[in-house]
Structures are given as C-alpha cells and as structure tokens.
C-alpha cells in the first residue's frame, strides 16, 4: 500500500464511520483529500475505521480518488477514538507520514490528540489553510469564534491535523489518469476496553420544515430572550415558504427547540435565503448553512464573523430592525406601495 520508491511522503487521510456508514465529516474529507495532500506535498492514503465497512470504504475510495486501508474491529461500529489512535499509530509506524488528517469532529479531535500525545507529534485542529513558509508548514485556523485567524507553523512531521469541512473541496473529479484504487482490510486487535459503547440515539426528525423551506429565518444569542421569538415568526410570515431556526446558542437557552438547531451538531440547510439574526458566525454554525444561496446577516457588530460569510449585512439591533422590516412590509402590501 505504501509506495517505497520516490515516495515524497505519505499523507494519511483518516475517516470515521457510524454504524457502517460514512460520517458527514468523512464524506466531506474525501472531497478534500487530494487537495490537502497536494498542499502538503505527499501521496494521500485513506484510512477508514469501523466494523464491516467494505462498502463504505469502496465508495469513500472512489469519492476521494485514493486507495484506502480499512481498520476493522467489532468495537469500531461507532467512532472509537482510542481504537482509532492505536490503529493509526501502527500505520504511522509503518509509513512515517508527513501528516495525518482527520475531519474536524470532536471524536476525531479526541483521536488526533491521543495519537499526537503517544507519538509526540504536533497537533493542530480546525485547519482551514495549509502552505509553506520559510521551509516550514504553516497552517491557518480560526480563533475567537472566527473573529481572528491565526497562522501556526511547525517543522515537525508527522503533523496531526483536523480539517474544517468544505475548505479544500474540488468540484471537478480527480484529475490525471485513472488510478487503480485498492481497498485493503486489516483487523485491529487492540482496543481500549475502558471505553464501552452502550447505545446510540439518532433522533429521526419528523420535523422537516427547515429542509423544505425556501427561506430560513435564524436567530442566535443576539435575540436576547424568549420574549423576542415573535419577531422571528413575524419576519418568517412575510415569506412564501419559510421556517425558523437558530444557533446552538439560541437553542441551548431554550428559545428555540433543539430540532431547529443549525450547524455541525444540528441540521444542515441550504435555502435560497438565510437570514441570520444575532448570530456571530462561529465555524460550527457556518458548517450547517454556508451553502445557502443568499446569506443576509443582521448584527450589531460589523466585525462579527458572519459578515465574512454573508452576501449582505445590516448593522442594526435586531429588536429594532426586525419590527421595522415587518412594518415596511405591511405598508408595502397593504398600500401596494412599491419600495
């Protein structure tokens, strides 16, 4: 699997499966695999961890355009970070990679940290750019909720990285001659017996309003309190097809139901219009809505990260702006006035 001759170095791309299926983060990582390896200057080799995942591995390999090593263990049915770390450690021993790249999920961060600790390698998470600077690898990552971007560098390999979704994706299919892709399965023998999976809740949502809506009116902590929930409903009612959603910040407060949470750990939406009111635009929120066709931010802070992702921004207090918007709309529809 690891080519010995003229090998510029291997870049391990590590994916997770959940009950036999690729996790969303891993599906996304597949699209990024070859560009990531190119940025680093190595040959990508996929590593997929789970139990009975031949099929998932085949499709992951095809989507990424890379060969894949499956690490199989009965305890890997759900993401198992200590097992992932052990399995990848053995592979890293074998091929001395330039980098080991995980998707940026919390389970993968745990696996990355465990691996980094064991092999004494630098661990850099939530990477959104990779380049070379003064002979060292330089990586960009968002800090302070996306308000700032930091550049870190390291001269050590392997680097253990977790990669933000959607950053290095290529729309075109893998270029170059058709590669013959192989999928090879190895059994993992060693698993940490102290991490004991019990059960999985995957609430199947019957509430599909967010996915169906043409317009999503979303609120964050900037909403200020449950008493302002009406403002969202009133705004949503202006549209032909709209649903109300929110950031984790707003849902944790109980201002909106958890089924309406948008982001990495919530729903993913891509409506024609996403109206983000009082949402700061943390990377985990953007993960669930950045594909929206038009993004409009209403925020008191012109430096909020959401403004970097938005097409239009209105710098106003939402408790003033949303009622005004509704009033102007009513005026327009009642009088037939054109605005």
């Amino acid at each position: 699997m690891f080519k010995k001759t003229n090998n510029p170095g291997t870049v391990l791309i590590v994916g997770e499966t959940i009950d036999g299926r690729l996790s969303a983060g891993s599906r996304d990582l597949a699209k990024q695999a070859r560009s990531i390896a190119e940025q680093i200057g190595g040959e990508p080799v996929g590593v997929l961890i789970g139990h009975k995942i031949e099929q998932a591995a085949q499709s992951w390999s095809k989507a990424a355009g890379i060969s894949v090593i499956v690490l199989d263990h009965a305890q890997g049915r759900y993401p198992n970070p200590p097992m992932t770390a052990s399995g990848v450690e053995a592979l890293a021993d074998e091929c001395s990679p330039l980098a080991v790249c995980f998707p940026h999920s919390m389970r993968a961060c745990q696996a990355a940290a465990t691996l980094a600790w064991r092999i004494k390698a630098p661990c850099i998470t939530a990477v959104d750019a990779i380049f070379k600077e003064n002979g060292h690898f330089a990586l960009n990552r968002a800090i302070l909720g996306g308000k700032l971007c930091e550049t870190v560098s390291t001269g050590n390999t392997p680097m253990i990285l977790t990669i933000m979704p959607g950053i290095f994706s290529r729309s075109a299919s893998p270029d170059g001659p058709d590669r013959s892709l192989s999928v090879e399965t190895r059994l993992v023998t060693d698993a940490d017996q102290r991490f004991i999976p019990q059960a999985v809740n995957s609430q199947s949502h019957t509430d599909q309003a967010l996915e169906r809506a043409q317009v999503v009116v979303a609120a964050g902590r900037g909403l200020g309190g449950p008493e302002h929930r009406d403002l969202l409903d009133a705004a949503a009612a202006m549209f032909k097809s709209a649903a109300v959603g929110g950031s984790r910040g707003a849902c944790d407060q109980g201002w909106l139901p958890h089924t309406r949470q948008i982001g990495e750990t919530g729903r993913t939406v891509s409506p024609a219009l996403y109206l983000a009111c009082g949402i700061s635009g943390a990377p985990q929120h953007l993960a669930g809505m950045r594909e929206s066709r038009t993004i409009v931010a209403v925020n008191t802070d012109p430096k909020a990260a959401i403004c970097n992702a938005a097409h239009y921004a209105v710098i106003e207090d939402l408790t003033v702006f949303l009622p005004t918007l509704r009033e102007r709309y009513d005026k327009m529809t009642i009088k037939g006035e054109t605005v």
Partner: protein
C-alpha cells in the same frame, strides 16, 4: 466512599463585555478586554455541581492554569459552588499551548487522586478542542468527548456519558473511573453564584501551585501571527436609516420572488 471531581476552567476574553479586539504582536492586547469563564467550562462546572447536589460525599475542585488574572475566574467557580480553587501559576506572556497546559494539569493531578476530571469541549478563544483528551492521554485515563449528560454510578465507580456526535446523533458510553469527560453545552443552564458562596469565595484561600518545569514535551506548533480574517464573500453592508435598510432588503426579497 468519597468521590472527587476536578473541573478545569479557562479564563477567556469576554467578547460580550464590549471591549475592543486590538491586535498586539502575535496575540491581542490583553489589557483592552475583560475576562470571563470559558462558556463550555461553566457547563462542565455545572455538571460537576449537579453530581454533587445529587450524591453524598462528592467534592468539586476547580483549577485554572495561567497568569494571576485567572484567579478571578477561579473565585467565580468557588462562588458558583466549587469546594476549592486551585491556581496553576503559569506565566505565558502570550498564550499557552494545549500540550503545555495538559502536561501541567496532568502532573498536578498525579499528586491528588481525582475520580473524575471534567474539561470544556473547547475553549472559546483558542478553539483547539484537544486539551481534555491530551490530559486523558497523559494520565492514560479513559475519555469521553462532548458529553451533554453525565450519570455516575457510585456502586461500581463508573459513569455513563451521553456524547454528541454529528447532526443530532448522540452515543451513550460507559467509562470506569478514574476518567475524563469533556463537556458540551446543553439544556442545563449554569447556575449563578449564590450569596453565601460568593461571600465564601471572597474569604477562601485559592491555593497556588507552581508546576514543575517540563523537561521533555511534545513538539508544539508555534503561532506566527494573528489577523482579522479576509472577507471571503464580498459582503455588501447595507447603508442608510433603519427604514432605508429595511426597504433595501425588502426590494431584494421581492426581486427574488421570496415574499408572499
């Protein structure tokens, strides 16, 4: 038998307090902003205090590593109900890497035997999401990440943690103690300091520990610079009075045929 919990709390820039983010060297001007307890850590502390409320003979300590300013955050943890506060005195003159923090905290923990260590899932300023798992790796303890609920079982000194995965999926895992769990925000709103605990926090000594110098450590990535992000989409800031802004948006909505 007694059960002891250590909660790792970090003092982070309080962006809601209205201070300005001013770049200074490879970091921000720390004097221009206020500090508060990392949001995720308030949830970790709340989780620990909830266990203490529900179970006899549970002790909760709160620890923060950093310069003297973190002592206010530790005091806040005592005011919320922690039994004791510990300050791991580390002067960074900037930021501390998760590996350095994990080494300092793990070597402190080796001197006390905590049954359970809680950290936040992520710090709001550095956003690494690895310090908890690194501490667990350093101590060779089982670790569960992104827990929204923790149920200890004192009969066999284990715990069940409900851990978030993606898209609303959650997994329940069981860990034997001593263990480490990283805590994600959840529906339980962290409590406010009570008057009696606030008074106690003012009197109580916050223990200061100077970590032993770290000899051999994992290579760390060095921060080269921080910057305001480049605008990726050409965002158009809509100008005018509130009414003009509303009208501009309505025109946009109308032109696209989204309005009723």
């Amino acid at each position: 038998m007694a059960f002891s919990i250590l909660v790792c709390i970090k003092a982070v820039p309080d962006l809601a307090s209205g201070g300005e983010l001013i770049l200074a060297g490879r970091w921000i001007d720390e004097t221009a902003i206020g500090w508060c307890m990392n949001h995720y850590d308030t949830h970790a502390l709340e989780a620990a205090l909830a266990i203490k409320d529900a179970t006899p003979d549970v002790r909760v300590d709160a620890l923060s590593a950093g310069p003297d300013r973190v002592r206010d955050t530790i005091r806040r943890a005592v005011a919320m109900g922690a039994d004791a506060g510990i300050h791991l005195a580390m002067n960074a003159g900037g930021r501390l890497s998760p590996a350095i923090i994990a080494m300092a905290i793990s070597s402190y923990v080796r001197t006390r035997n905590y049954d359970l260590i809680l950290t936040g899932v992520m710090s709001e300023d550095d956003m690494h999401g690895v310090t908890g798992p690194l501490i667990a790796a350093a101590l060779d303890r089982p670790c569960a990440a992104a827990a929204v609920e923790i149920l200890p079982d004192m009969s066999d000194r284990s715990l069940a943690a409900t851990c978030e995965m993606e898209g609303g999926m959650a997994e329940i895992v069981r860990l034997p103690c001593p263990a480490l769990v990283t805590v994600q925000t959840g529906r339980r709103i962290p409590r406010y300091p009570s008057l009696s605990n606030t008074l106690r926090s003012r009197r109580q000594l916050i223990e200061q520990v100077v970590p032993a110098p770290i000899a051999d450590h994992m290579p760390i990535a060095e921060t080269r610079r921080v910057a305001f992000p480049q605008r990726t989409s050409a965002c158009r800031f809509i100008e005018g009075t509130v009414i003009e802004k509303a009208d501009t948006l309505l025109r946009l909505f109308n032109d696209n045929g989204w309005l009723k």
